[in-house]
């Protein structure tokens, strides 16, 4: 067995070894197969596009995903130049540089560039490239994994755009925007807030809200904003904290705050909105604050004036508002009723549309005046429609700055009742005056009568007496006894004198009662005569200045004026201690003017006002009856002036 045995043994050994080898080989084959399966699975099912290519850019491997992504089938792809397959013209240079790097041995990952599909569609892919080496480590090609990131990129871009938009909004909004944490500290804020608070964004981070905004309570306690006694009611803080704790939004909460602005304090009104924002897992509140101070102040002012206006409008009979063309801007119920139209049909139309030309002109005159002067104007007028009387008050309505008049408000008060009463009063006054006048006339008539009767009768009688006396005197002359004759003649003479005296008295009384000169010659002559007589009687120098020789006045008027002169002179004689009296009589612009001036001690105001003297009040009464006035004034030394 030497060789044979040896060889048989060798053969068996070799066989065994061979079998072992085969078994091992089988095992390896299995493993290889399994791993190949694995790789194949990966290759096939990968969501990444697998492209394996050689140094000549020829595609060696192409998986299902690549087929899907690029449209080329495996058959089409393998062996083809991938430049032609999937690289767009624009991306060529990027790809070139990648490939160059790769072939130099550098691994390039996460390269994003454009690719082109079989249909010509452009897509964006993220490539992870690694080098393919053979057993010896030589680079024979590369393995490229592609991920279609077109959508992702698009979303990213959209997201970025959106983010930019949001940031722009955030920064641009004229609102204070604060992101606060649960400790009430500002974590983020916007440009507008820096404008308002004067602090930079950086300065405000980690400040509590109140401190940042300069709330006067921010430093009430040592801990700062939120810990003071006033802070527990702070709407801003409560809203924000509630939002953080409960996630509840609080949109549109109005609140007021008092800020300390570099020493000066001012009240502000804020419109606050809070909303939960979870950032990095931490609940925060996004607080937006709109400064509505101005609006609030205006609202309050408007409401106040509205309330005032409304209460006025409710109570006033008629109240309405017009612009400078007389256009109705507002009308209350009271006034609309007068039109018996609904307000809607009136607003927008002008005053002139509803009233006559004459009435409109008068109305617009007043409106214009208010616009020009900026002050109120009033007038009484009678409605053409129903004859009722109204008192209209036109008032300016000014703009905010109280500078210009923007409309006119008219309040119209029905004064018909009052007017009627006034009319009645006036009419009864007229009647009274007329009655007084008639009484006066009657009295004067009476006087005239009495005067004449007395005068004439007595006069005649005395004439008779005188005549008889003259006869008797003639008879007496025949008395022979000288003494007796002289004595009798003397007696007769005395009698004659007495009679003359008597007639003087009678005449005087008569002239005082009713001077015939007044009736026969007129007022001027009568005054003149009266003064002459007065001078004779009292010794007071009289001067009569008359611009007119005569005046054509009714008996009533003449009498009244004469009596006033009479009375004035009587007063002068009785009280004034004067030595001169000047009476001036004239006419001025259709009115008669009479002045009695003396140079005496002067009447005092109290005396005039007292008018206990019937004379003074009588004068006034007389003047009034003929539609005139009596003005009595005096000063010591300058005397008294009675002006009619």
């Amino acid at each position: 067995m030497d060789d044979e045995t040896k060889s048989k043994q060798e053969l068996i050994n070799e066989l065994i070894v061979l079998r072992q080898k085969v078994a091992a080989y089988e095992e390896i084959k299995e493993e290889l197969h399994a791993s190949e399966e694995l790789y194949r699975n990966v290759f096939t099912t990968s969501p990444l596009g697998f492209v394996v290519w050689d140094r000549e850019y020829r595609v060696l491997e192409w998986n299902e995903q690549s087929e899907k992504m690029f449209g080329w089938t495996r058959e089409e792809a393998v062996g083809a130049n991938f430049y032609d397959l999937i690289v767009s013209v624009e991306a060529k240079h990027i790809v070139e540089s990648i490939l160059k790097d790769l072939l130099d041995g550098r691994i390039e990952r996460h390269i994003v560039h454009e690719n082109i599909t079989k249909d010509g569609k452009r897509i964006l892919c993220e490539w992870n490239n690694s080098v393919l080496r053979d057993h010896d480590g030589n680079m024979i090609g590369a393995i490229s994994l592609a991920l279609d990131v077109t959508e992702r990129k698009r979303s990213e871009e959209a997201l970025r755009d959106r983010e930019e938009e949001l940031v722009a909004i955030y920064e641009n909004a004229p609102l204070i925007m604060l992101l606060v944490d649960k400790e009430w500290r500002i974590k983020k804020t916007n440009a507008f807030t820096t404008q308002l608070t004067g602090r930079s964004v950086g300065d405000m981070i980690d400040l509590r809200c109140g401190e940042a905004l300069c709330c006067i309570h921010a430093l009430d306690t040592q801990e700062g904003c939120g810990f003071g006694p006033a802070c527990k009611d702070c709407t801003l803080r409560l809203a924000a904290i509630d939002t953080i704790e409960t996630g509840q939004s609080h949109p549109g909460v109005e609140m007021s705050m008092r800020l300390s602005d570099g020493g000066k304090e001012r009240d502000v009104f804020f419109l606050v909105s809070t909303r939960e924002l979870v950032t990095k897992g931490n609940p925060m509140a996004l607080v937006s604050i709109q400064d509505i101070t101005i609006r609030k102040k205006m609202e309050n002012a408007l409401r106040e004036s509205e309330d005032k206006y409304r209460s006025l409008a409710a109570t006033a009979d008629s109240m309405y508002l017009v612009d400078m063309d007389g256009r109705y801007l507002f009308m209350n119920e009271g006034h609309a009723k007068r039109f018996s139209l609904i307000t809607d049909r009136i607003i927008g139309r002008t005053f002139g549309d509803f009233h006559s030309e004459k009435a409109t002109k008068e109305f617009m005159d007043k409106v214009e005046k208010v616009f020009i002067t900026g002050s109120s104007v009033q007038h009484e007028y009678q409605s053409e429609r129903d004859g009722r009387y109204f008192l209209r008050t036109f008032s300016p309505v000014k703009d905010q700055d109280e500078w210009a008049t923007i409309s006119v408000s008219i309040v119209s008060k029905d004064i018909t009742g009052r007017k009627r009463m006034e009319e009645m009063l006036e009419s009864s006054r007229e009647q009274l005056r007329a009655l007084a006048g008639r009484l006066q006339s009657a009295r004067e008539e009476e006087r005239k009568q009495i005067a004449r009767e007395i005068h004439d009768d007595l006069g005649s009688a005395m004439t008779g007496l005188k005549i008889d006396l003259s006869h008797i005197t003639a008879g007496l002359l025949e008395i022979e006894n000288d003494a007796k004759r002289e004595s009798c003649l003397h007696e007769a003479k005395e009698m004659a004198k007495l009679i003359d005296l008597m007639i003087h008295t009678v005449r005087r009384i008569m002239m005082e009662l009713r001077p015939s000169i007044l009736d026969d010659f007129g007022l001027v002559a009568a005054i003149e005569w009266h003064l002459q007589d007065f001078q004779k009687r009292t010794g007071i120098q009289c001067e009569f200045i008359s611009a007119l020789e005569e005046i054509d006045l009714s008996e009533e008027y003449s009498t009244a004026i004469y009596r006033i002169v009479q009375e004035s002179l009587t007063n002068v004689a009785r009280h004034a201690n004067a030595t001169r009296v000047t009476v001036t009589f004239g006419e001025k612009s259709g009115n008669v003017m009479l002045e009695v001036r003396d140079n005496g001690i002067g009447i005092r105001k109290e005396q005039v006002a007292g008018s206990k003297s019937l004379g003074l009040s009588g004068m006034k009464e007389r003047a009034l009856l003929i539609g005139g006035t009596v003005d009595i004034s005096g000063s010591p030394g300058k005397g008294t002036t009675v002006l009619v």
């Binding site: 005649s460 004439t463 008779g464 008889d468 003259s470 007639i503």
Partner: protein, 122 residues
């Protein structure tokens, strides 16, 4: 000489008649008690002298004077009045009266005046 007395008072008229009754060549031809009567009497009786009261019922005696002067009658007019005030005097003189006599205080003069007039009458 014919004299007409114009006065509304009977007492005065009688009194005057009494005063003139004894004057030679003087005849009281009539009495008038108002203006109307006066004018008529003057026209009818054609007196040479008229004693004229100013105050008569109705139109004043001055109207008679006016009438006489307007008619240019050759009559002497003696105004006799109870209102001897300057205004009246002036007016009468302006209108051409010959005399202005106070009925009470100057009544005695009448006889003198009449006598004078009788003497002067042509």
């Amino acid at each position: 000489m014919k004299v007409l007395i114009v006065d509304d008072s009977k007492i005065v008229c009688n009194g005057l008649r009494q005063m003139l009754i004894n004057i030679a060549d003087v005849v009281v031809v009539g009495e008038a008690h108002n203006t109307g009567e006066a004018v008529t009497a003057i026209t009818e009786l054609k007196p040479a002298v008229v004693i004229l009261d100013i105050h008569l019922p109705g139109p004043s005696g001055i109207e008679v004077l006016k009438d006489i002067r307007d008619k240019k009658l050759p009559i002497r007019v003696i105004m006799l009045t109870n209102y001897p005030y300057p205004q009246y005097r002036k007016k009468c003189e302006e209108l051409g009266s010959d005399y202005f006599i106070d009925k009470v205080t100057e009544i005695e003069i009448i006889t003198e005046v009449i006598e004078k007039l009788v003497k002067n009458k042509p």
